[in-house]
């Protein structure tokens, strides 16, 4: 007889998206209506995990994916606070060297 272990029971909405979770002790994985006690594979992760009735799948739509990737691209072009601080320090250093006549 398998020993019961603690597992996460995911509560899904009518569209298969996770809305809450709690811990259950069970020897096996199971599905009971909108309660899914099935752990997703560890080698893959989802932006918007969804239960398709048999397994966990990516629930992000193509439109949402395009929007997310565009936002990521835009954000990757913005300098970080550290980069801005470094740039400001560099400008101050160059200004100081210029005033001292070290550089022109």
């Amino acid at each position: 007889m398998e020993e019961a272990i603690d597992r996460i029971a995911y509560i899904i909405d009518d569209n298969g998206f996770v809305i809450d979770s709690y811990v259950v002790s069970s020897a096996t994985e199971y599905v009971d209506g909108n309660i899914i006690v099935v752990r997703p594979s560890i080698d893959v992760s989802f932006y918007k995990r969804k239960w398709d009735g048999n397994k966990w799948v990516e629930g992000e739509t193509e439109e949402e994916k395009a929007e997310r990737e565009a936002k990521q691209l835009l954000e990757s072009l913005k300098p970080s606070p550290v980069e801005i601080a470094d740039a400001e320090l560099e400008i101050k250093f160059i200004t100081m060297l210029t005033e001292l006549g070290v550089v022109q």
Partner: protein
């Protein structure tokens, strides 16, 4: 002469008055005779075949009717009680005197002979069609709620019987989706047992993955929880975005009162970097990193917090 009074008085009446009195007395006597006949016919009928009652009495706290021979207690709604028989715990049959139809608002009481085995139980009164038994909000009672040899009072709503009074049951196991039942001592013990529990393995959200099971987990000792993680990025993390590391923590593992802050640690271009990680009401967020974190970077750390 239809006049029934004193003869001398009658003789003193004028002939025209005598004639008039004779005619009116005749009409009155005919009406009286008709009423006598009607009363006799009424008395000759059975109470069972006639509207209205012959004789009623209230004796020894009982309202009774006489059918000409015997006094019989009048049945009222409050006495609609019977043994509800079932062979499978699904449909119960009960025999109740005088019920020939379901009437909105009618109240019946039943004593089931068997525990219910499904949620969608039904009750059949006499030979009427079986109708569902539900809670007031139309939810079906969980299987096992209808107990053998207990007594339930039901009222007809028009299409179903609604459990009155003690309709909500106890459960040995409750969760956040349980809204209609109360926890038993057994259920409370299970919760207490959970206070110190083995770590619960969590699933990372994109853009994070784990390489081995258990590298993202939360455990508890008393009311102190520890979230430990070693995740790998699957894309570059921007300095202006925050990322939800995993699904909301399960019930019992959430910090309910405040946001807690910890950090994740990683190496970027041979420089050690710390990234703030917060947990607010169970939602684990990796805050915007100080510099862009490339894909395939390992970030690890832990956060300790109170759960209650």
């Amino acid at each position: 002469m239809a006049y029934k009074g004193n003869q001398t008085t009658w003789d003193n009446f004028a002939p025209s008055l005598q004639q008039k009195l004779d005619e009116e007395s005749k009409d009155i006597n005919q009406k009286v005779d008709g009423l006598k006949t009607e009363v006799n016919e009424h008395l000759a009928k059975s109470v069972a075949s006639e509207d209205g009652a012959h004789d009623l009495r209230y004796l020894d706290d009982k309202l009774e009717i006489n059918d000409g021979t015997n006094w019989t207690k009048i049945k009222t709604g409050g006495d609609l009680f019977g043994i509800a028989e079932s062979t499978d715990g699904v449909t119960y049959s009960v025999v109740l005197d005088g019920v020939s139809e379901y009437v909105v608002g009618m109240s019946i009481s039943i004593k089931p002979n068997k525990i219910s085995t499904v949620r969608q139980v039904k009750i059949q009164v006499n030979n009427l069609a079986p109708v569902p038994i539900t809670h007031a909000n139309s939810d079906f009672p969980i299987e096992g709620l209808i107990r053998a040899n207990s007594i339930y009072t039901l009222r007809f709503s028009g299409d179903r019987f609604i459990i009155q009074g003690d309709g909500f049951g106890l459960l040995d196991s409750v969760n956040s989706a349980t809204t209609l039942y109360a926890a038993t001592a057994n259920a409370v013990k299970q919760v207490n047992d959970k206070v110190s529990a083995t770590p619960i393995i969590l699933t990372p959200n994109a853009p994070f993955v784990v390489e081995s099971s258990g590298e993202l987990a939360v455990g508890k000792a008393g009311n102190v929880a520890v979230l430990a993680f070693k995740v790998k990025t699957t894309q570059q993390l921007a300095t202006t975005s925050q990322y939800q590391m995993c699904e909301i923590l399960p019930v019992g593992y959430r910090n309910l009162r405040a946001t807690v802050v910890g950090h994740g640690f990683c190496w970027v271009s041979s420089v050690a970097r710390l990234i703030p990680v917060t947990i607010a009401s169970g939602t684990v967020i990796m805050q915007a990193p100080p510099i862009a974190i490339p894909a395939n970077t390992y970030i690890e750390g832990n956060i300790t917090f109170y759960v209650g």
